[in-house]
Amino acid sequence: MDELVAGLIDRIRTVSLHQWLTKLVLALTGTALITVCAAATGAVLAGATPTIAAILLALVVLWPESMATIAFLGFSAVWWLFAWHGSIWATVPVAALVGLVHLLAALATGPAHAVVRLAALRFFGSRIGAYVLATAGVGSVLAALTMLPTSRYVAWLAVVAICVATLVATLVAGSIDDAAVVPEMPDDDEPYLPEDLA
């Protein structure tokens, strides 16, 4: 226990300013998600649910690659789905927010004491922005499909097709051992090039 606490203190102490900001953005996004979900919650679980979500969020901020992240995202998604009884279009921005937390947790995995260069910051910013827009777009399409009265089965078929296709594509992609061309890095600091040894 002492070692755990000492490790935690050391971990907090050695975090760089840039990583603190990254964690702050993650924490604020997660808090926004909790706030949005809490706004739709009924009185029965009002106290416990945000508390559990906040604890999970704290764990996500400290350990983004742990099980806490999948638990927080799943908990938040289920919380919203069961708490919200209004228009399905309100789910689109919430889904985008869930995606944002998910992606920030995926990218906030560098060394805690690392400095983030400006080029990397711009790189992340552009990718995150594009992802959020794509998520909102796909979510809107799915919401529109489920709204069509005669296309209930079509919508479900579309969802199932997407999921199965994703699963199959992942399995297939994972099993392919492609030997595609990768650009050779010039080894100008190596004493010999392979041609010299031939």
Partner: protein, 428 residues
Amino acid sequence: MTELPIRPTPALVRSLILGLLLALGGILLGQRGAAVMAAPFIVHVAWGLFTRARTDVVRVRTQPRLVAVHEDDSVPVRMVTDRPGWWIAVSWPLRFGLRLAPRSGAVIDTTDAKVVVEPHTWGRYLVGPPEVAVMDASGSWRAAGEGTSAYVVVRPAAASLVGSSGITRPIGMAGSHPSATPGEGSQLAELREFRLGDRLKRINWRVTSRTGRLHVATMLTERDTDVLLVMDTLHDVPGFTAMDATSLDLAVRAVAALSRHYLGYGDRVAVHDIGRRMRHVRAGTGPRQLLVTIDALSRIDRGTNPVFRGRPIRGITPGTLVFFCSPLIDESSTTEVGRLRQLGCEVVVVDTLPGDLGTPRWLRRRRRRDRSWLDEAWVVRRLERDEVFARLRQAGVPVVAWRGTGSLAGVLATMERSRRAPRLARRV
């Protein structure tokens, strides 16, 4: 170059699990919102598949892997990956004697991560091995592992020594030091009457016209000489703090300055290390010899010396000017000084013990909680050394403490003056 295997990240696994659960759960429970909530995870998986590498390794390379710089120079060390569009996180370990920028030694950048390394002082430094992680833009694929280290060799600065050459009896052939041998030189030896065989251009017409008899000016030849710089690296005595110069640092600086000084005169300079940390540098002249010496000095291993017996000096010519750079805490060093003197060498001892060690000032600066019996032991050792110094001076060996480039000016000037001083001549 290092090849790191690519693995899916927990984020991709998260997307797969949550995407499938939400989609299938929505179907089973009739929740339309679940399909919409699965959208971010489905998009993430699709993005990950799109950016998936076609090979299963990422290659990373350290640039440069070996570099030699001068003191106070900094070296930018880069970690380069072969994946454009992926980002790289590098964490270089902190080592004593190296300053990193950024200070933590860890950087996140796109494709090319640079950390500037600034060594504190001369020597060889192994920078790394770094921890490297390369990830694609979606955070779905990552390659992590250890990169290749970089070697930095820092050459000590050869400062300009203040003072004259101090050479009293050069033993070489042609150089810039006036000798006692008459011949074709630029320094006047005497004015005497013309004898048969004297060169006509040496006739001094002013004296001739005054005295009425032909007089000539005889000159002294100029010669170079052999200079041997001896380093005693049997022990590396530390300074007051970890960052202060040790006896090894002082010896290296003294040898570098002396090499530059005497190579500038055109003399032949050799370097010998009786502690075997440095290879023997054979006698040579010119700028190349200085580079060879500085390079050999920069490769000295600062670690604990496993050698307990010194390497004696062999094959030395009588009349060689020897600078013996030593803290003189080992009896074998003092014995070697005496042996060199007996062989007919002109020996100058350069004391490289860190300045305050074993003095009352040292004791006053030590904090009470840092005091130990070693402090008093050093005081006693310094008193013993003072006795050794007195005996050496009686034997005609000057002892000078190294405190910078002006330390030897007085001794060299005294030696220079003694060359011109009248000597008792024995007549048979």
